[in-house]
Symmetry: C2
């Protein structure tokens, strides 16, 4: 019997540069999203939407929505990586969760839930994923569904005890 | 009778530079958050947490969480501004909503709901706002409570029709 061992995709590896550090001496909130943004580019490449795939199909992905939780400070020079889980997909949308970690570390520094939209660049207008991309997404989704759902997915922002 | 006319704070004005534009020919998702991040710096200045205020109190604000909705593409050279509404606060936390607009435009290009935490930089550890900052926040909150609540505040991310 073949056993599928599902693992998250590693979609970014790099080091925190000085330009990303703010007056608090740690990485500015927006640059966490820059790393997650680069990671979603890697995911696009992984499913057939690299530059060649985008040129062939005329399609790209746009970010519709994202939700970040900041759990730990990240300092200049830190080696970090992003792991990505596919949470769901429909004909035009892709729902993912990304975690930022220290390289080979187990502690999540920040999480990013994201909804992406497949777009026909000629419009630009929403369009169904082309078949080979949809097939790649289905295969990944089948694997990633067996993994625990991220505890921070589906959150909304609110002050404790206030409406 | 004195009538208070509440208005949002304008917290950022600038133009979209080439470095912020990605392979889709529009501003990359992360750089929307960079503008919102600069806007939250302006809000900090407005309530007494500029560099001098931070040095005097030993406190700063860290981002705990943010949720962005991307509504329209923004192209290189666009003149944009951010308007900020205070939604709530407690002793240590500040809940805000920021909208990105074309300069003098009425159409929101993107929205960002954000939760910020007051931090004693010596720890760093969560700490109550110092009194003059809390008073400034209370005054702004009293005004901003009279404004309509942003329709995208409190959202969570989900695929339509899926759990």
């Amino acid at each position: 019997m073949i056993e599928l061992t599902a693992t998250l995709l590693t979609t970014y590896r790099g080091s925190v540069i000085r330009d990303w550090v703010d007056y608090n001496g740690h990485m500015r909130d927006a640059f966490y999203l820059l790393l997650f943004s680069y990671a979603s580019d890697t995911l696009m490449e992984r499913v057939g939407m690299d530059a060649a795939g985008r040129a062939a199909s005329g399609h790209s992905m746009y970010t519709l929505e994202c939700h970040l939780n900041y759990l730990h400070e990240v300092k200049e020079g830190a080696s970090v990586e992003v792991h990505t889980q596919i949470l769901g997909a429909d004909a035009k949308r892709l729902h993912i969760y990304q975690g930022l970690y220290l390289a080979e570390g187990a502690q999540m520094l920040a999480g990013n839930e994201m909804m992406l939209l497949n777009v026909d660049s000629a419009g630009p207008r929403a369009a169904p994923f082309v078949a080979p991309v949809m097939e790649n997404l289905r295969l990944l989704l089948a694997q990633h569904r067996t993994l625990p759902r991220p505890s921070l997915a589906g959150r909304s922002i609110a002050l404790p005890g206030q409406p």
